[in-house]
Amino acid sequence: MDPLETHTRDLTRRRFFADAARSMSAAMGTFALGSLMDPGEALASVANLAGAGETPGPLVPHHRPQAQRVIYLHMEGAPSQVDLWDHKPYLRDRFNQDLPDSIRQGQRLTGMTSGQARFPVAPSIFRFSKYANRQDGVWVSEIMPHTGRVAGELCFIHSMHTEAINHEPGITFFQTGSQIPGRPSMGAWASYGLGSSNANLPAFVVLISQGFGNMQALSARFWDSGFLPSEHQGVKLRSGENAVLHLRDPDGMDRDTRRRMLDLVGELNEAEMARSLDPEIRARMAQYEMAYRMQMSVPDLTDFSDESEETLAMYGPEVRTPGSFAANCLLARRLAERGVRFIQLYMRGWDAHNNLPGEIRLQSQAVDQPQAALVRDLKRRGLLDDTLVLWAGEFGRTVYSQGALSESNYGRDHHPRCFTVWMAGGGVKPGITFGRTDEYCYNVVQDPVSVHDLHATMLHLLGIDHTRLTYRHQGRDFRLTDVFGRVVHEILA
């Protein structure tokens, strides 16, 4: 298509008045520029004129990427770092003592424990084992034995902290860099900046697994594209027989008929586009075409029959249950090898305010073997070299017990001041731990890493300077890290 024609046709109303206000020479310069750009670039740059933003286009990545894609295992509900990763044997001798005020320092609490008369220390009742890594070993809880075995590949960050203390703002902050809803999700930023490597699949795919514990709401805005063009929003694959609803042609419609129908609808859309100049029509047309191609690519993606028995066994018995965390981990690997840029898994049910030992045992059982298998499988296939795996909840959990404390049961409230995440592959140093918490596992005492820092580091690994990937919306340039963020160079390989 002639770029000048495209450009003229994509002239929105707002753009029209803005141009008219400019001097004649400036307007002519705009058109001259439009004709100089190559068609693809011109198309890309006009795709989001409604937001008056520009695609980063040919400027991203800013440097050579270490990671081509991300698999983000989000543990929704916030798993307890004290019971899984952050080994605090000293607490065993402080069972049921009050948490010192000098540690809590008057920190705000949620409404769920702010009324408690006392804050008794609840040491983890799980035994930890030490696994070899590139440093002097790392302690991992007995309920994550498989993950412990791949510790040589993992980079534990014990010093994560966040600003939010409740789930919705916490997850929103982790996903979008802001506690307030409405910003684009990290996967949408990656899609916007780097595009897709596979035209047959979306660049940002979301997979959800139900958990066993207390489950929090999980809303689609966590993977929304916010003000970025709509095609960058995450596409949720369902766990049932149809991974994408209504993707299959209805009975009696063959693929040729579908093609002819799409061509006709496309012509009508083109006509509407020429009339109303609404760029969303173009996004809709792109999504129709994507769906048509996904009719071929998705069945191949979700069909595990080409996996060896050994591989299936490695992910554990649940791998044959669609929608289980095991099945989704294997699906994540299959998406990764098909070039999907950002694969977001959610494992629900970590919000153990009461009966934590029982709940976390079930939760860990569901994730431990699959996530370890994922790391191992990526590694042996050579995919871990350029795939970044992130395992994170939205915050941590308190060292003091919420509700009744006994030698076999306790609960834990939300804790934003410190928690543990781990990463693997994609240019992160393997087999290290980074950052330390105090002996009450309450405050970070060394190398704090904020959510913005984590985002900056992940974008850096994807070849993106987090200060330069911006999108102009409502008169200002937005970025994932807002005005914050430091690349944590200490954990980069």
């Binding site: 190559d38 040919p58 400027l59 991203v60 990545p61 800013h62 050579r64 990427p65 044997p89 000293y90 065993r92 001798d93 069972f95 049921n96 003592q97 009050d98 010192p100 005020d101 000098s102 540690i103 320092q105 008794p120 009742i125 035994r127 930890f128 084992s129 030490k130 696994y131 070899a132 007995e142 034995p145 412990g148 075995r149 791949v150 040589g152 590949e153 490597s197 596979n198 035209a199 047959n200 191609r293 090898e337 098909r338 070039g339 790391v375 191992r376 590694k379 042996r380 296939r381 050579g382 009744a404 404390l405 006994s406 030698e407 330390r436 105090d438 002996e439 005492v445 060394q446 070849g463």
Partner: protein, 593 residues
């Protein structure tokens, strides 16, 4: 057809304008001299007559009338010719050229008005516009000189002498952005790294030479012969007569010397085609050696090369024909370097098959090509056909799960810049992979889930693929003995199979016993509250880091002791190195417990 006829036919307006443009250096100096002379002559006249000298009388030497008209007409001619000279590909229309252009036009206009003013006896107008023209011609001439000779041409010897006197660190003067080292290079330290450091790179070793010796005429402001030598895009684009460096390691020393860049330098000094021009500073032998090694390695713009290797004999199939990917692009634009047209078409062909081909970093040479995302639809011949035109650009190549066969070897060996090759889950054979054994740059090879095995591993153990750092072998055709042999022979190579399978913990905690100073809830009375508080009372009164009274609010628990500090910063410092800060325990600290 007579010679005159041919001449008339050839003299199209474009050609005539280009010819006129080349007269610019000839005509521009006359108005400079005349305008400055007239301005100097006018000053005493102004002083003598004062501001009242606007009358019709007074002396009006006829020479001035001739001089001002000559100045005005030559200034106009200079502006006209200069305008068309700038259209030639030798020049980059940048800020300097624009300033020069418009200042020059201003001079011509002011001089013309001054001439008319003289003729109509408007003395005040004559003086005003003459002085304006004379004042404008100074910056105009300056920017013209900057384009011809480079910035800081006049003051360069002075600055070089000052730099020498100040004993500035070696190499630093060349790095200053405002110094164009070329004219003063003879007096400067060598910008070249010593040859002893065998590994070299374009940016650190070659570019400084090109900056010093070539940039004045082939730089950002000027591109004589359409050739720029100060950016990777411009070098890749070549000059108007074609590429100046090869894109692959040449076959022989003779072929290295045939590369246009080196050939021109090596021509005798009195040869018309010799570069740099004989009146310019010439590259030293050491610099020529660096350029020779660089070209011998295939003129890599990103990868390093070995200065010790004068001729690379590593490529099994020297390609003798000129490389299409190095064809010059029409108008090199430093701001938005575009892939050469053939490459763009080849990339589009790959994208049309829903696979990936894109620059690893935009604007830099080096492509990532990933055909694995469109598996099972490409035949081996199609794969070879898609890759063939991009062979010299591919740095990372993903072929996992595609249909490859041994015929692909002919394409792979023609990828001199290949660093990463993923052949996972393909039918790649020992024969195919062995074709890359001599590859000088291949750093990462994935042969997991391929039938290839012992034969190629034995060759790698013997030193094949010298640059190899990562080797993926899971489920390939190799025996455990062959894998062990590679591990032993090539310790620098990370050999990855499925080693995570049998990791066991180093140690496990003993069964957990929970203890407390306090009884369990229900059994306890509220009276025991102070005891817990006391147990958590800091053991010290003085901050071990700051040495001032400690504040119990800033306490940490270290090795079972509660230690207080004066501020959170001190606690952090203590935590980083507890042994550096001995803690003074409060006398009788436990008395109230």
């Amino acid at each position: 057809m007579s010679r005159i006829d041919r001449l008339l036919e050839a003299a199209t307006p474009e050609v005539l304008l280009e010819t006129a443009g080349r007269l610019h250096p000839l005509v521009l100096h006359l108005p400079i001299g005349l305008l400055l002379l007239l301005a100097v002559l006018e000053v005493p006249r102004m002083l003598r007559r004062g501001a009242a000298g606007d009358g019709a009388g007074g002396d009006r030497p006829p020479l001035i009338r001739a001089a001002i008209w000559l100045a005005a007409l030559t200034a106009a001619a200079a502006a006209f010719s200069g305008w068309h000279l700038a259209e030639s590909p030798d020049y980059v229309v940048g800020r300097t050229l624009q300033l020069h252009r418009w200042l020059g036009v201003g001079v011509a206009a002011a001089a013309m008005i001054a001439a008319v003013a003289w003729t109509v006896r408007w003395t005040r107008g004559y003086r005003g516009f003459l002085l304006l023209a004379a004042a404008t011609i100074i910056p105009a001439g300056h920017f013209g000189g900057v384009m011809t000779h480079g910035e800081g041409f006049v003051t360069a010897p002075l600055r070089a002498a000052m730099a020498a006197a100040a004993e500035v660190e070696e190499g630093e003067p060349a790095a200053e952005p405002d110094v164009e080292p070329e004219p003063a290079a003879e007096g400067e330290p060598e910008p070249v790294a010593p040859l002893a450091a065998s590994q070299a790179s374009f940016a650190l070793d070659v570019l400084p030479i090109l900056d010093a010796r070539c940039a004045a005429c082939h730089g950002d402001r000027r591109r004589k012969g359409g050739l720029g030598l100060t950016s990777t895009a411009a070098i890749a684009a070549g000059g108007s007569s074609g590429p100046v460096v090869p894109t692959m390691p040449p076959a022989s020393a003779d072929a290295v010397a045939e590369a246009e860049l080196l050939r021109r330098i090596l021509l005798p000094l009195d040869d018309d085609l010799h570069m740099p021009p004989p009146e310019r500073p010439q590259p030293t032998d050491a610099e020529i050696a660096v350029l020779r090694a660089w070209i011998a390695a295939g003129a890599p713009l990103e990868a390093t090369f070995d200065l010790a290797v004068a001729v690379a004999a590593v490529e099994p199939e020297p390609a003798s024909e000129p490389e299409p990917a190095a064809e010059p692009v029409a108008e090199p634009e430093p701001a938005a370097p575009a892939p050469a047209p053939p490459a763009a078409a080849a990339i589009a062909a790959i994208e049309a098959r829903f696979a990936t081909a894109r620059p690893i970093v935009p604007g830099r040479p080096g492509l990532l090509v990933d055909l694995s995302v469109a598996p099972a639809v490409l035949t081996p011949a199609e794969i070879a056909g898609l890759l063939e035109p991009l062979a010299r650009s591919v740095v990372e190549l993903g072929l996992a799960r595609t249909e490859v066969d041994d015929t692909l070897a002919t394409v792979l060996v023609r990828m001199p810049f290949l660093q990463s090759l993923d052949l996972r889950a393909t039918a790649a054979s020992d024969t195919l992979i062995a074709s890359l054994l001599n590859h000088p740059r291949l750093e990462r090879l994935v042969m997991a889930e391929t039938p290839a095995g012992d034969a190629v591993l034995a060759a790698i153990a013997d030193g094949g693929m010298p640059a190899l750092r990562t080797l993926h072998l899971w489920n390939c055709g190799a025996t455990p003995e062959a894998v062990a042999a590679v591990r032993a022979a090539r310790p620098e190579v990370r050999v990855i199979d499925d080693s995570l399978a049998d990791v066991e913990p180093l140690e496990t905690e003993p069964p957990i016993t929970l203890s407390s100073d306090r009884p369990l809830p229900g059994a306890a009375s509220e009276a025991s509250e102070p005891a817990a508080a006391a147990a958590l009372r800091p053991i010290n009164d003085e901050c071990p880091v700051g040495g001032v009274p400690a504040d119990p609010r800033f306490a940490i628990v270290h090795e079972g002791r509660v230690i207080a500090f004066c501020c959170p910063d001190c606690a952090t410092r203590f935590w980083a190195d507890p042994s550096a800060f001995p803690v003074t325990v409060r006398a009788g600290g436990d008395s109230d417990g």
